[in-house]
Amino acid sequence: MATYQTISTPIVKPVDGLCNLSCSYCYAPGHGKPTRKNRMLPETLKALTDFFCRDQDDIEFIWHGGEPLLAGIDFYHKAVEYQRPWEQKGKRITNSVQTNATLVTPEWTEFFLERNFFVGVSLDGPKDFHDQVRYYPDKRGSYDNVMKGINLLRGAGIFNGIICGVSTINYQFSKEIFSFFISQDIKKLKFARVKDIGHCNDISSLTISPKQHADFIITIFDLWLELDDPEVEIRDIQSVVSLILGGNKRECIYMGECDQFVTVYHNGSIYGCDSFPKTDTLIFGNVMDDSIMVRSNPHLKIFQETLIKRRINCKTCDWGFICKGGCAKDCYAQLSSTKPMDEVCENLKRYFEHISSRIKSYGLA
C-alpha cells in the first residue's frame, strides 16, 4: 500500500471548472469550449507529471473538473506519454477520471481500456431525481446521455462506480435510490452530501444537514445489510465497517491526512483539497516550482499544524479511531477551527454507533 506523504495525490483540473453541463449545485461552474486560457498546456502537464512522480513510488492522478473529458483525448495521450519514462523507472502510476459520462464515446472507452484508467461517473439516482439537478445549460436533463455513457463504459468493462450527490431533491428517498442502482446493476457507490463549499450560486435550497445525511446513510447501510450482496460496495459504509472490525480501509475523510490531497489547476497552481476550491490560504505553489519549496510552504505548515491539533482533540472520543479528526471541510466551521462542529459530531457518532451495534448483534465485534 502506498505510504502517506504530504502533497502526494493530485486532483487535476485540466480545463479548470469548464463543463458541458450546468448542474445546479456545482462549485466550479464554467461553460463554453476550452481555450488557451482555461486548458492545461503540455509544458504544465509535463511539469505536473514530473512533480508528482519524482518523489514517490506510487502515484494516483485523479482527473477531475469541471468535465475532464473536455480536455480532449490527445491531452490524455500526452499525459500517458509523459508518465511512461517514470513507469520505466519502476514507478507505479494509476489514472482515475471522474466524469459526467455524457461525452464518452467508443474512442474514449478504447483509450481508457488500453491505458487502464479507472472511470467513475456522477449520477444522482433515477431520471426524475437526476434531471432536476444535473442538466445542460438549456436545462435539458442529462440522465439519458449519462446512462448511454455508462453503458459504453460498462460494455468495455471499465465502469468503476458512481458518486451520487445527496441533496434535498433525493435524500428522503434512500430506498428508491438504492433500489434504482441495484436494478441498474450499478454496485459500486459513493454518496456525497451536497453542501455549500463556496459556490457561485445560492444553493441553500439543495443542501442537506448532517442529520439528514446521517439519516440517509444509516438507511442505506440497513438496505445494504438486508440485500447482503458482497458485490455491492458502498465506500463510506465499508470503510466504517472495516475500521470497527479492526481493518484499515479508510476513505479520505477518515484518514486525518487531508494534506495528502491537493488540487492542481490548469495553470499548474497547487491548492489544498478540492473541498476548499481556490482558497487563498491553501495555495501551496505551482507544479513548476521546486517540490521541496512547495512542501515547505507556510500555508501548508499552518494547515498541517491545524490537522494535528484536530487529531489530538479527537483522540479522547470513543470514535476518534475512525474519524481521526474527520474531513477538514465537513467537520469544521472554519479552516482554522480545531474543534469540530457539534452537529456534525453528533450525527457521525450516531452513524458509527448504529453500524457498530448492528455488527455487535451478530457477535462480530
Binding site: 494509476t94 467513475g120 459513493k190 472490525l245 476513505e251
Partner: protein, 50 residues
C-alpha cells in the same frame, strides 16, 4: 437447542471481517493483489474518491 435470537451473519459482514483480519495481520489477500499493486485499497473505484 439453538438460540432463537442468533441470526445468520450477513455475507457482507463476513467478508468485511475476513478482509479486516487479513489487514490486521499485515497480509494481502491474493484476490486483492492486483488492486493493491495498482494503488489504494478498494479495487479500483477510487476513480471517484473525491
Amino acid at each position: 437447542m439453538s438460540n432463537p435470537t442468533l441470526r445468520a451473519v450477513p455475507k457482507v459482514l463476513l467478508q468485511a471481517k475476513k478482509e479486516a483480519t487479513i489487514q490486521a495481520m499485515g497480509k494481502k489477500d491474493k484476490s486483492w493483489d492486483k488492486a493493491w499493486d495498482k494503488g489504494p485499497w478498494d479495487k479500483g473505484h477510487w476513480a471517484n474518491r473525491k
